[in-house]
Symmetry: C2
Subunit: 120 residues, 2 copies
Amino acid sequence: MIFIDLKDSRPIYEQVVERFKLLILKGVIERDEKLPSVRNLAVELSLNPNTIQRAYGELERQGYIYTVKGKGNFASGSEKLIDRYKEEIQKQLREICKTAISIGMTEEELMNGIREWRKI
Amino acid sequence: MIFIDLKDSRPIYEQVVERFKLLILKGVIERDEKLPSVRNLAVELSLNPNTIQRAYGELERQGYIYTVKGKGNFASGSEKLIDRYKEEIQKQLREICKTAISIGMTEEELMNGIREWRKI
DNA sequence: AAGGGTGTATTATTAATGCTAGTACACAGA
DNA sequence: TCTGTGTACTAGCATTAATAATACACCCTT
């Protein structure tokens, strides 16, 4: 279901968090769908259960999943999460554009960085 | 000339690198202008000289400055550096847009994240 | 009631890295 | 020669990611 990139400099638990975030936001994991158990995922990814637990704890803290003791971890509904995530993305875009303009990048050059993802 | 944000989770030497990168790209530090000496900047920022040296070493490796032993570190010309930096920014933008679209963000919502930086 | 699967908590240990500390050496210029 | 400069090296500290091992409580099925 997910994979880990050991060449990535970010901590493993952060990678796990991000992967599940996107899976939930995209709807690949639906509301109330069960995530892999801490122990199972640890075996599957050859990681320590504590690392998975830390990732799940973070996902729960951010509202992406909820926990039922003795049963497992389950995906939350994604509507509000998507809105929040969209704002984060817009914030990132603004930061990058701010820097870009400060070094003299033109509007045209900025748009060239985006154009290939536009339908037109 | 520059400042360090201790609340920033990134390493200090990376912050120093980024600050000088932008100062050179913006032309605030002109070609062949001398940067603060390793020891002076270390005192000014209350850091260890080794930390500054690491930052300067990185800046040299990336072509932003050149070193004259016994004299100091000096800014390189920024023309080629700017072109390279613009490509990096475009790459970042594409990555963000790619993710944004994958979670169902619309073109309109994407543009709202940029609009305030456009002249129009 | 028993057992297996689940999350949770705790403590200890290892490994990597950022940063500091201290020292030493070589070069440039006055 | 003296001062300021970059460079190199070793050592150590602090933080954090990650592992290891263990224990406990909950849920559900048998």
